[in-house]
């Protein structure tokens, strides 16, 4: 596990495209450089179809066991976007590539598969997504709330921007049942 091969950004994207073809909706490699020597580093942004989500994580673990930083989320109106922030090539100086895999799920059926079976460290962030965005993570080993207290009202999700968001609750705090 210590000696992993260095993967460059292009080959990661290529490998995903060969495996999943059109299911990779969009991919972009963001090139940045730092310092006086202007050494380059890469952030990959990839939008994938929900149907291949679990397979793509399996594929990623097959290439190299990644580091999962966190899962962040956006409320985009009709859909919820989840972005999985991975990074690859740890242990190689200046070679780490950030890989951001984004998947959109409809609000009418906000479910996504768990990735805890591949990456056990994802549990904390998956629990947070459940309570903050109202996403249902199928097969999560522990579905309790993480940050919100147990008496926090059900069906209110702080990161949402629609009627399930916090705005209404904050205006009518006196109505919130203890």
């Amino acid at each position: 596990m210590t000696d992993t091969k260095v993967l460059d950004a292009n080959s990661v994207v290529k490998s995903f495209k060969e495996e999943f073809k059109t299911k990779i909706k969009e991919s972009k490699i963001e090139k940045r450089s730092a310092g006086i020597k202007k050494i380059e580093y890469y952030h990959i942004w990839m939008k994938i179809d929900r149907s291949i989500f679990k397979k793509s994580i399996k594929h990623l673990c097959g290439i190299q066991f990644p580091h999962l930083a966190v899962v962040s989320g956006n409320d985009l109106g009709k859909t919820i976007e989840l972005i999985y922030h991975f990074s690859l090539n740890h242990g190689h100086k200046n070679k780490v590539v950030s890989l951001n895999i984004s998947v959109e799920i409809p609000k009418s059926n906000p479910t996504i598969e768990t990735i805890c079976d591949y990456i056990p460290g994802a549990l904390v962030t998956e629990r947070e997504k459940q309570e903050m965005l109202g996403v249902i993570v199928k097969g999560i080993p522990d579905s309790r709330r993480l940050f919100l207290p147990n008496d926090f009202p059900k069906n209110v999700y702080p990161w949402r921007r629609d009627e399930k968001g916090l705005d209404k609750m904050i205006r009518n705090l006196h109505e919130v049942k203890k």
């Binding site: 963001e30 730092a34 310092g35 580091h67 999962l68 100086k93 070679k95 904390v124 919100l148 702080p158």
Partner: protein, 411 residues
């Protein structure tokens, strides 16, 4: 709440929300068999202040100051990670000198934080004279922070596209004076922590995190490096100007030749990192180029650029406790960021607590919990629920238990 099965032999000990180790609340529920910990459950959220939600009513420059107030010890790493995320989203190039200055503040914060942690760790095993020694040394760093930024804790130094204050040549002697003080006293510090019988007794073989667990649970920072996993944002990806300097991953085997992943290794790891920080600061001052310190000095102009910008970006930084990552999404026509996600290093170091604490004794809870340097909490009381009987241990009693264990082992 998890349903708990209590067999005859075991009982449960809730620790927290006011916690044994540090100054912020977290709650542990321990399943105890005699003195031994069989299972651990961690619950969080006692200080969740909806910072991300609060950012919806602030523009990006105001968010910098909000980010600064997420944590008192990491008051530099959050605004800098936010600034980097915005810079990546918009495509702002930071001037070279700005990048070098950012390194100096980052390393100064790391030294402050590690010295504070060293004192807390000594206190947890009942060695309070070392607490006073390390915190007295840390005072020098706080003085330097005040000299460079104008404040001891909330530095207010970060700006999107650079930093707010320059470090001029006439300020260098004071920096070197502080660094030399640490170089002169480093041997003393190493001797106190690594040769002392008390520390060896309590820390060697305690709270072990294996290489596999550290990797699978995505641990970050000194916690993961002490288990031999090479993850350090400063070396991983070129950012600021770290790629211009001569730095490499540090793991405890540099000193001892082996990696055990125990509390003792985490002490070695942080001491080595203090030494590395001194070296990095010297290199930075040596190589510092001249030029601008911020990309756009006029705030209204910067804000209007940000208002027009659209895009998303991530900002990473190696905070004293490990990788901090912020995600920012900007929407054209809005002053405020559309989404802002903060991920502090302790977030990833929560799950590793479970394998660390399993199999340890009650008296080891403070030092093992403190060994990841959680940015969270301190015990004021512990409730011990023994079937029908319920009694409490306050902070002093738990601390005394820990001190007694040290005494017992020294006999």
């Amino acid at each position: 709440m998890k349903t708990q099965k209590t067999t005859k032999a075991t009982y449960q000990v809730p620790v927290g929300p006011i916690h044994p180790a540090l100054k912020e609340p977290v709650m542990f529920e321990f399943e105890i068999d005699g003195e031994r910990i069989v299972d651990v459950d961690v619950s969080l959220g006692h200080v969740h202040r909806s910072v991300e939600w609060a950012s919806r009513r602030r523009n990006s420059v105001q968010v910098l100051y909000l980010a600064e107030r997420i944590c008192g010890i990491c008051s530099y790493c959050h605004p800098i990670a936010f600034a980097r995320a915005v810079e990546n989203a918009v495509g702002i190039e930071v001037p070279d000198r700005g990048e070098y200055l950012r390194i100096i503040h980052g390393e100064l914060e790391r030294m402050c934080s590690h010295m504070l942690w060293a004192g807390v760790a000594a206190h947890e095993v009942g060695f309070d004279s070392v607490l006073f020694l390390t915190w007295q040394m840390r005072e020098k760093l706080l003085d330097l922070t005040e000299y460079l930024t104008g404040n001891r804790i909330t530095k207010g130094i970060t700006m999107i596209g650079g930093v707010r204050r320059d470090i001029t040549k006439d300020m260098f002697p004071k920096i070197f004076e502080t660094l030399n003080f640490f170089k002169d006293n480093f041997e003393k510090l190493r001797h106190v922590f690594l040769d002392d019988k008390t520390f060896k007794l309590r820390c060697q073989g305690a709270g072990i995190l294996t290489y596999e667990d550290a990797l699978k649970l995505c641990a970050v920072g000194p916690t993961t490096r002490a288990s031999g996993v090479k993850k350090d944002v400063r070396v991983d990806q070129p950012y600021f100007a770290y790629s211009d300097l001569d730095i490499d991953y540090i793991t405890p085997d540099a000193l001892t030749g082996e990696i055990n992943g125990d509390v003792y290794d985490r002490i070695i790891q942080r001491l080595l990192e203090v030494k590395q920080s001194i070296d990095i600061m010297e290199q930075t001052i040596d190589k510092m180029p001249s030029g601008e310190i911020v990309a756009e000095p006029k705030i209204p102009k910067l804000l209007s650029t940000l208002k027009k910008a659209e895009g998303e970006g991530i900002g990473l930084h190696e905070a004293p406790r490990g990788e901090v990552i912020h995600y920012v999404k900007l929407e054209a026509g809005s002053d405020n960021p559309y989404t802002w996600k903060v991920r502090a290093p302790t977030y990833n170091n929560i799950l590793p607590w479970i394998p660390m604490l399993k199999g340890e004794q009650i008296a080891d809870i403070p030092i093992v919990a403190a060994s990841t340097d959680p940015c969270m909490s301190c015990t004021n009381r512990v409730t011990i629920v023994d079937k029908e009987k319920k009694y409490m241990l306050n902070k002093e009693q738990l601390h005394r238990k820990s001190v007694e264990k040290t005494r017992r082992m020294m006999k």
